[in-house]
Symmetry: C2
Subunit: 340 residues, 2 copies
Amino acid sequence: MAMMRSVVLKAPISGLPQPQDFEIVDSEIPALKEHQFLIEHAIVSVDPGVRSRLSATGASYAPPIPPGGRIDGFVVGQVIESRNDRFAVGTWVTAGGGWASHSIGDGRGFIAPLPDNGLPRSLWLGILGIPGMTSWFGLKRVGAMREGAHVLVTSAAGVVGATAGQLARAWGATSVVGVAGGKQKCDWLVEACGFDAAIDYKATDDLSGVLAAACPKGVDLLFDNVGNAMIDRVLPLMRLGGHIVVSGQVADYNVPHDQRTGITNTAEFIAKRLTMRGMVVFDDLPQFAAAQAEMGGMIRDGRLIYREEFFDGLERLPEAFCGLFTGANFGRRLVRLGDA
Amino acid sequence: MAMMRSVVLKAPISGLPQPQDFEIVDSEIPALKEHQFLIEHAIVSVDPGVRSRLSATGASYAPPIPPGGRIDGFVVGQVIESRNDRFAVGTWVTAGGGWASHSIGDGRGFIAPLPDNGLPRSLWLGILGIPGMTSWFGLKRVGAMREGAHVLVTSAAGVVGATAGQLARAWGATSVVGVAGGKQKCDWLVEACGFDAAIDYKATDDLSGVLAAACPKGVDLLFDNVGNAMIDRVLPLMRLGGHIVVSGQVADYNVPHDQRTGITNTAEFIAKRLTMRGMVVFDDLPQFAAAQAEMGGMIRDGRLIYREEFFDGLERLPEAFCGLFTGANFGRRLVRLGDA
């Protein structure tokens, strides 16, 4: 029998996740049923949003991952065995395969053959994958992005944030400001990504003051990946009719609910007619291909740039993941398996 | 010289407003300039939203009212002197005249002659006035009210809330639940206004549990007049794609900003694709007349009911206002001047 390796959760996590919260298990690959196919994973992603499923209470949209359960992750891989005509052996796909060496698909759920657009396959886990789609549809559909807007992006050096800022610029934003941690990330946002300014939140103890100074005209569109405290800070800077995109909450995932800072500046919603909206990008799945084609063109033209950080070996998935919450990451974190 | 009386603020208020925070001043009525006209007030309203302008910091949409400044209120009155062709002597109007016996208008800002629809003039300060318009446009435009929705209204026995619940019912809501303070108000909501259920928040120490039990299918549209803590409680009950209308914040107006409860359950925004939106009903001014005509018909037919509480005499304005924050009010609070 062929074997596969998976990374599983040892026990529910509270606080910051640590590599020792996970373990590797080996298991047999079951025989394929009709319509099924076996994917050998070449690259696996680590995603901050997964953190919410690792607490005992789980996320509101999904039950907690139980002890022994495989961790969610997106993969790029190749079909190596198939009982499905649409996914022949040799086909490269992207899917929600999880932290494992292999996964079995049946063509349902999130899975797509990779179009050959001449770009690295890893991009389907980053700027052309769920994060990049989050930037695109978060701005366009959820945030009602319009020409002339003053845009503020938080966790801006992450792939979602950096892509959102660049797209906002491409779509005619009057100003694009980012918040990130550390000089290196901030320099990259301004020098490489074309942000007007980037605020190093680690370098100030008056973040509200620095935000106000960096956004003298205010903010029409806040694309937030950080959470409650950040939204609360920005609310007084919002402009009439502004939009807040609730895209992620990296600062809140590790904090027990009763210890979280709340949003208190809700009077701003009334006075300024603000709209705050949450998103799950899978709602936009039917529009992905068109967005990916357009973004692919922008990447080839050099109008859209990205960073990636590679780790090698399945056993490094926990380490790569845990670093997402300490700010150690700079670029999309991906783990290569085998000799991908 | 003709004289007028006004109620003014003595000093900025912190905490619950008290009648002694206000005082009455007499002043001369200035001579009218061209285009001006003098309104003699018959009825003046007290509005909870005004509280936010009585703190030292003011509201985010308007500066604080300074000591000696006249308090905001809507009025119904009659033009008794005019240098404006559109507002001849004898015309009845509704306007933002303030807590005073008279005001001078020039036809700009919020002012409208009263159509003669056979209904009491006081309704232009309540169900046909700014509060009723808030209910109508809050549901329709801001809350994206649709047939079949499960609707929850807070501060439901107030004119905004009771009207919103009745309109939701008329527009095909599957369920309409209200939150109010006291058995009398709750009984009225169910027996007279057609709510499916009304929760007496004063009669439980497990409001979250009672809310969940009263909304077994969840909530598509939360029409909130209370504030952060209430929104936070309801967030876990919201249904996929739900809308939250931030209409008022009566529980937060008197609480210093740094002591306010915040909204912490923002993860619900992502998982459930929620939209929260604040409103200022004056944005809908051009549509008021059509809504008022339709609502007038519903009132005459008995499909829409209302309650009013009258006080007599300008000197009772502070008392009527202060009671809004202790739950003493039951129905739209209005103060009659002279022998209106």
